[in-house]
C-alpha cells in the first residue's frame, strides 16, 4: 500500500471541470514536482491535498485513511506570498508552531516551556540562515528571507507531507538556487513527502524525484471548461538522490541515540 493514494479524483466548480479521473500512488518520501500550463489544476490539486477543498468525486487516502477535510499540522504548506504572520517577528513566527498545539486555550506558552520553544525555533532559524534576523518582522525581511522563514515555520511542525505552491516564483534566480539547496537538505534529513507546484520546468526536473505534468487530454473548443486536466506525464527523476537519501536514513538508524 502506498503512502498517498489518489483514486479517481474529480474536481468541478459547477460546469467547470478542473481535474478529471486523477489516480496516483505516491510513496512516502517522494519529492513530486507539479508542472503544467496556467489553469491546469496544479494549485487545485494542492488545495485538495491540503484539505482546503474536497474533491467533487473520488477519494484521497493518506496512510490508508481518508485525508482530513481541513488543514492540520500533519501537512505543512508554503505559499508564494502571505505565508508568514506580519505581526510576529521571525523567532515568534516559528515558535508559534510549537506553542499552538500545546496551548489550546491561550495559544501561547509561558516560562520555561516558552524559552524551550523559542530555543528550538532559534536553532531551526539558524539552520535556514536567519540566525541574525530573529527580532525582525517579515516586512523588514527580503523576499527570499521571508520564504526561508516560511519554510522554517513549516518544518518546525515535522509534518509528513509538505505542500509548496510556487514558493520561489517571486525570487531572483541566484536566491532561488540557494533555496533549492536548502529545501533539498531539509528534505533529505526529514524524510517527508513533498508536493511542489512550479512554473519553472528546470526547477521541476532538478528538484523532484518524480515529475507530474498536468494537462488536458481532451479539449472542446466550443466549451473550454467541459474537460478537466489529468496527469499526462509521470516521470521518475534523480533516482540517485533517493538512494542517497535512503542511505542517510540507514546510517541514522544505525547510530545510537
Amino acid at each position: 500500500m502506498s503512502f498517498i493514494e489518489i483514486d479517481n479524483v474529480w474536481q468541478e466548480y459547477g460546469h467547470h471541470v478542473v481535474l478529471e479521473r486523477l489516480s496516483l500512488n505516491i510513496a512516502e518520501g517522494e519529492f513530486c514536482t507539479l508542472v503544467g500550463a496556467s489553469g491546469c489544476g496544479k494549485s487545485t490539486f494542492l488545495r485538495l491535498m491540503l484539505g482546503q477543498e474536497r474533491p467533487s468525486r473520488g477519494r484521497i487516502l493518506l496512510a490508508g485513511k481518508a485525508l482530513p477535510g481541513e488543514p492540520d499540522p500533519g501537512r505543512g504548506v508554503v505559499f508564494q506570498r502571505y505565508s508568514v504572520f506580519p505581526h510576529l517577528n521571525a523567532l515568534d513566527n516559528v515558535a508559534i508552531g510549537l506553542e499552538l498545539p500545546r496551548a489550546p486555550v491561550l495559544g501561547r506558552l509561558f516560562g520555561a516551556k516558552k524559552r524551550a520553544a523559542r530555543e528550538e525555533a532559534r536553532q531551526l532559524l539558524e539552520k535556514v540562515g536567519l540566525g541574525h534576523n530573529l527580532d525582525q518582522y517579515p516586512a523588514q525581511l527580503s523576499g527570499g528571507m521571508q520564504q526561508r522563514l516560511a519554510i522554517a515555520q513549516a518544518f518546525i511542525m515535522r509534518p509528513r507531507v509538505l505542500l509548496l505552491d510556487e514558493p520561489f516564483g517571486a525570487l531572483d534566480p541566484g536566491i532561488r538556487k540557494d533555496m533549492h539547496a536548502l529545501l533539498l537538505t531539509l528534505w533529505q534529513e526529514t524524510g517527508l513527502t513533498v508536493f511542489m507546484v512550479t512554473h519553472d520546468l528546470a526547477e521541476g526536473f532538478n528538484l523532484g524525484t518524480r515529475l507530474l505534468v498536468f494537462d488536458k487530454t481532451r479539449n472542446d473548443p466550443q466549451a473550454p471548461n467541459a474537460y478537466g486536466a489529468r496527469v499526462t506525464y509521470d516521470i521518475p527523476l534523480n533516482a540517485d538522490r533517493q538512494v542517497a537519501r535512503a542511505r542517510i536514513a540507514d546510517i541514522a538508524a544505525l547510530q545510537p541515540d
Binding site: 506570498r81 502571505y82 508568514v84 506580519p86 505581526h87 510576529l88 499552538l100 498545539p101 491561550l106 495559544g107
Partner: protein, 271 residues
C-alpha cells in the same frame, strides 16, 4: 515646470502650512475690529481681550453658583462620557467585527443585520435613549456607543476578511484551533486596525456627544456652548470650540502614537 511637479522646500512647506491659519485669524480680527469700532457692544465677533477675559473667568475663577472651575468641570464631564462611549464601542465593535469577519456562520447570521442597524441615524433614536435610559449619563454614553459601534464593527469585519486566506490556512497547519487562530493571529492584526478606525470615528463621536449634551445635561462642553448661546456669548463659544478641536486633535495624535508604539510591525507592513 509643470505645477504637478513643483514641490515646496522645507521652510516654504512650514510657511504654507501656517498660511491658512494666519489668514483665518487675520480675517477674523480685521472683521472684529471693524464691527467693534462701529458698535462697542457688538457680540458677534468678540475681540481677543474679550475672549481672554471669558476664558479667564471659565478656567481660572471659581463659578459663583457651583464653586467649580467651569471649563475644567465641563471638560472632565465631556471626556468621561466620550472615553466611556468610545471604550465600550471599541470593545463591542472589535468583538462583533472579528466574529463576523472570521466565522462564515456568524457572518451569514449577523452581517446583513449589522448593515441594516448601521443605517439607522443615531440621532433619530436619541429620544428613545432618553426615554429608556433616562436623562443622565447613561443615555449620552449610549448614543455614542450606538452611533459608533455598527460602523466600527463593519470596518473591523471588512479588515478581518482582508486577511489573506493563506494566513488562516497556515495557522491551521501550525496547530491552531478556531479560538487560538483568532486569539494569536487575527486579533493582534485587527487591534492595529481598530486604533485606525477609532481615529476616523473620533469626529462622529464628538458629534454625538455634543448633540446629546446640547439637549439634556448639567455640565459638559456641548452643554456650555448651547447654554451661553442664549446670551450670544461668542466670547465663550469661540474659545470652547477651539478647545474642543484641540482635544480632538490630541486624541487623534495619541491614538496614532499608540499604534506606532504597540504595533511596530503595522507601519512597515503596509508597503
Amino acid at each position: 515646470m509643470r505645477l504637478v511637479n513643483r514641490q515646496p522646500e522645507r521652510g516654504a512647506r512650514f510657511l504654507l502650512m501656517l498660511l491658512p491659519f494666519i489668514v483665518l485669524v487675520g480675517v477674523y480680527f480685521f472683521g472684529s475690529t471693524a464691527r467693534l469700532a462701529g458698535n462697542p457692544d457688538d457680540k458677534l465677533l468678540p475681540s481677543a481681550s474679550q475672549m481672554v477675559a471669558a476664558i479667564h473667568h471659565a478656567a481660572l475663577e471659581e463659578d459663583g453658583r457651583s464653586g467649580e472651575y467651569i471649563l475644567w468641570a465641563d471638560s472632565a464631564a465631556s471626556l468621561k462620557r466620550l472615553g466611556l462611549g468610545l471604550a465600550v464601542a471599541a470593545l463591542l465593535g472589535l468583538a462583533m467585527g472579528t466574529v463576523t469577519g472570521v466565522f462564515p456562520l456568524a457572518r451569514a447570521t449577523f452581517s446583513p443585520f449589522m448593515t441594516a442597524l448601521a443605517m439607522i441615524p443615531p440621532l433619530a433614536v436619541l429620544p428613545i435613549l432618553f426615554i429608556v435610559f433616562g436623562l443622565d449619563e447613561l443615555s449620552k454614553v449610549m448614543l455614542i456607543v450606538i452611533g459608533i459601534t455598527p460602523v466600527l464593527a463593519r470596518d473591523i469585519e471588512q479588515r478581518a476578511r482582508e486577511i489573506p486566506p493563506e494566513i488562516l490556512i497556515k495557522a491551521q497547519t501550525l496547530g491552531a484551533n478556531s479560538w487560538t487562530l483568532v486569539l494569536r493571529v487575527v486579533l493582534p492584526q485587527l487591534l492595529s486596525r481598530l486604533l485606525l478606525s477609532l481615529r476616523l470615528m473620533l469626529g462622529s463621536a464628538w458629534l454625538f456627544l455634543i448633540s446629546a449634551e446640547a439637549i439634556s445635561a448639567t455640565a459638559g462642553l456641548g452643554y456650555r456652548i448651547f447654554l451661553v448661546r442664549r446670551y450670544l456669548a461668542m466670547d465663550t463659544i469661540l474659545p470652547y470650540v477651539i478647545w474642543i478641536t484641540l482635544l480632538a486633535w490630541l486624541m487623534d495624535f495619541a491614538l496614532k502614537g499608540a499604534n506606532r508604539l504597540l504595533f511596530p510591525w503595522s507601519e512597515g507592513a503596509r508597503t
